[in-house]
Symmetry: C2
Subunit: 115 residues, 2 copies
């Protein structure tokens, strides 16, 4: 078994088109021998956001801190804050935005093939 | 997409051999159309514990609140507290225990076939 503290995990800047102010921590991933799915943690700085995109894998999320929005494919902003969970099905257009003044930090679980 | 608050999800008592003082909330599971894995949240009351058992599916965990221990197959207690992550590989004997005086609450993610 493995036990990890978030503070002990290196932060990597996320550099892809449509991203602003995001770092990623791979908490538990394929390199740890996970059989099916991985846990990453993303930190979005104030005004930070992910791409407004879609892909073939799902997200299961839990918000550790901050206040954000989960945008849908029609541009609707669904509030998503500390202690809340989200599910983004495969193929559904989405975007995570930090709508607060503090970092917006959340778990983003995906199939292990993705990370 | 789905957004859920933990307080809105029904708590079910966990009644199985070796369990003491546990309730479960199925936050996102196969009934929601998750393609690969599910998020449950367990609450262990003070002195509560899961069975000391093993099974073919893995656990990926995140502790929402409280202080507990993740016991291994040799009876060693690995401290596991608020904000920490854990991975229990398939087939590895384990037990979750509440070692504090407050509820010990954690996400337990498993393959969707399990829940």
């Amino acid at each position: 078994m493995i036990i990890r503290k978030l503070d002990d995990i290196a932060k990597a800047s996320v550099d892809m088109e449509g991203v602003k102010g995001i770092t990623k921590q791979l908490v538990l991933g394929s390199g740890d021998g996970v059989p099916n799915f991985s846990f990453r943690v993303f930190t979005l700085e104030p005004e930070g956001h992910s791409p407004h995109h879609n892909h073939e894998v799902e997200h299961l999320n839990f918000v550790l801190s901050g206040q954000g929005a989960l945008m849908d494919g029609n541009g609707n902003a669904n509030p998503l804050g500390t202690g809340e969970f989200a599910f983004v099905p495969p193929g559904e257009t989405h975007q995570f935005r930090n709508t607060g003044e503090e970092p917006f930090v959340f778990i983003c679980a995906v199939p292990k093939e993705y990370e």
